[in-house]
């Protein structure tokens, strides 16, 4: 009987995805996207300005940049920086969050530190990292990581404060040990908090990485935007902005959403 339950549940999920895509969601996305494009073309057509290129000029620029390999190179470099800063910040931030959520004394002691770093403007961290460590790759990634860690720590701390004592006792009785307890008892309870931190975090890291690149890196999307600004080449700025949006959307749909669906399988 329970097997039936399971099959039915899986079936429902399967139909849900295909069904929603066919019955309108995709259509609506398409309609919405095309009307935005049309509005853009219309305004550009009316203005007839080099500083407000239409979709055709921008896609032409996009194509030349893509064909020369420039676009791929800069987007790839930015992506690597985002990934490095994101994973390091998630790992360290989660560890700090769990520690503070579990140990009350440490939480009280470090609370002020956390508030200090939370309110430190991103630009300050970036400038200080470049001043202290030079215009290096390490300084760039470090600056982004330091900006991100306190946000992750605060979110994960909330989760660690509300861990179930019942399940911790169960794990103790059945001798789960540190690793098994972390993997099967603690992390699943923190999953919604870590997911929230990851989502908010990715959005933040993207934006800070661009600023870091603009201020002190020879390549990356941020650098290209800066060059576009210097040359008043708005087509280039928009082409890179669109490439950036496409990559972020792709990661959202192809990576984040499937992970979330998998982690939430057990919920009723």
């Amino acid at each position: 009987m329970a097997l039936d339950h399971h099959t039915i549940a899986t079936g429902r999920v399967g139909r849900g995805i295909i069904g929603s895509v066919l019955s309108g969601r995709l259509v609506w996305t398409l309609v919405s996207f095309l009307s935005l494009l049309a509005l853009w073309a219309l305004v550009a057509g009316l203005l007839q300005s080099r500083l407000f290129p239409g979709p055709i000029d921008v896609s032409a620029k996009f194509m030349t940049e893509a064909a020369s390999g420039e676009l791929g190179h800069h987007v790839g470099v930015t992506l690597l920086r985002v990934a490095a800063a994101f994973f390091v910040a998630m790992f360290i931030g989660s560890a700090i969050g769990i520690a503070l959520g579990r140990a009350k004394g440490a939480d009280q002691f470090f609370d002020t530190w956390l508030i200090f770093f939370l309110n430190l403007p991103a630009l300050v961290t970036i400038i200080l990292c470049y001043v202290w460590f030079g215009l290096t790759e390490m300084a760039a990634v470090l600056a982004v990581t330091i900006n991100k860690i306190p946000n992750v720590a605060v979110t994960v701390r909330e989760g660690a404060r509300s861990l179930s004592r019942d399940l911790t006792e169960m794990a103790e009785i059945y001798r789960f040990g540190t690793w098994k307890t972390l993997r099967h008892v603690t992390l699943p309870q923190l999953a919604p908090f870590i997911a929230a931190a990851a989502r908010g975090g990715l959005a933040l890291v993207w934006k800070i990485v661009l600023v870091v690149e603009l201020l002190g890196r020879p390549d990356g999307v941020g650098r290209q935007l800066y060059d576009g600004f210097q040359l008043f080449d708005v087509s280039m700025i928009l082409a890179y902005a669109i490439a950036f949006i496409l990559v972020v959307q792709f990661i959202e749909l192809a990576v984040l959403q499937p992970i979330e669906a998998r982690v939430n399988r057990w919920r009723r």
Binding site: A2, D166, E169, E172, Y174, F176, H184, V185, R267, R268
Partner: protein, 243 residues
Amino acid sequence: MKNGQQAIRVTVARKAFPPVADRPEQLVLSGVDLAVEEGSFVVLTGPSGCGKSTLLNIVAGLDKDYSGKLEFGHRDARLSFMFQTPRLLPWRTVEQNIRYVLDDDDADADAKVAAILERVGLSASANAYPERLSLGMQRRAALARAFVVEPDILLMDEPFVSLDDPSADSLRALLIELWNRRPTTVLFVTHDRIEAVMLATRLVRLGGTPAGIVQDSEVKLSPTERLDREKVLAARLRLFENA
């Protein structure tokens, strides 16, 4: 299995809950000395809130804030604990919940898990998540988990409360069957006197404030008599006459 040997010896000179807000310190247990013989099924009973569960948590090692002593007959005795609520991991399947209490390098894990699932009647639900099952089925999974580690000592804290009578009866029958197949030392807390008489080979009653042991009697019923309602009711009257 050697009878006559002590499996658990717990003495609690004093157990108090620290003061909370405006409530003063609460003395719960005092002068408790309980020795449990290996292979016996000891039922701890007494009015609700008297400290039965507290004593059980002390034996489990979950509560270390007391003055007294805890010893086990086995060095490194393997414990199982069936709690009042099933305490299954909701994000893991029934099968995973049972597998994870076994050692990672246990080569027979697959066979053990399959066998215990079969015995408690959950083979068809092995891949279901606990919250999709009824409370009775979740309790079966918790019972399977408690037995799969082949414990030296099995602790149970009112494991069959808030079930309807038929479900509770079938779980009790299952417990008796599992226990007969693999006898182990059991310390079982309940306030249900009929359940106490049905299961116990020895009945220990706590009472008073702070609580101490007020009664300690053997229950001499044969396995068939335990399933006979008349016999159980008669034994209950006898055992609880001065309660």
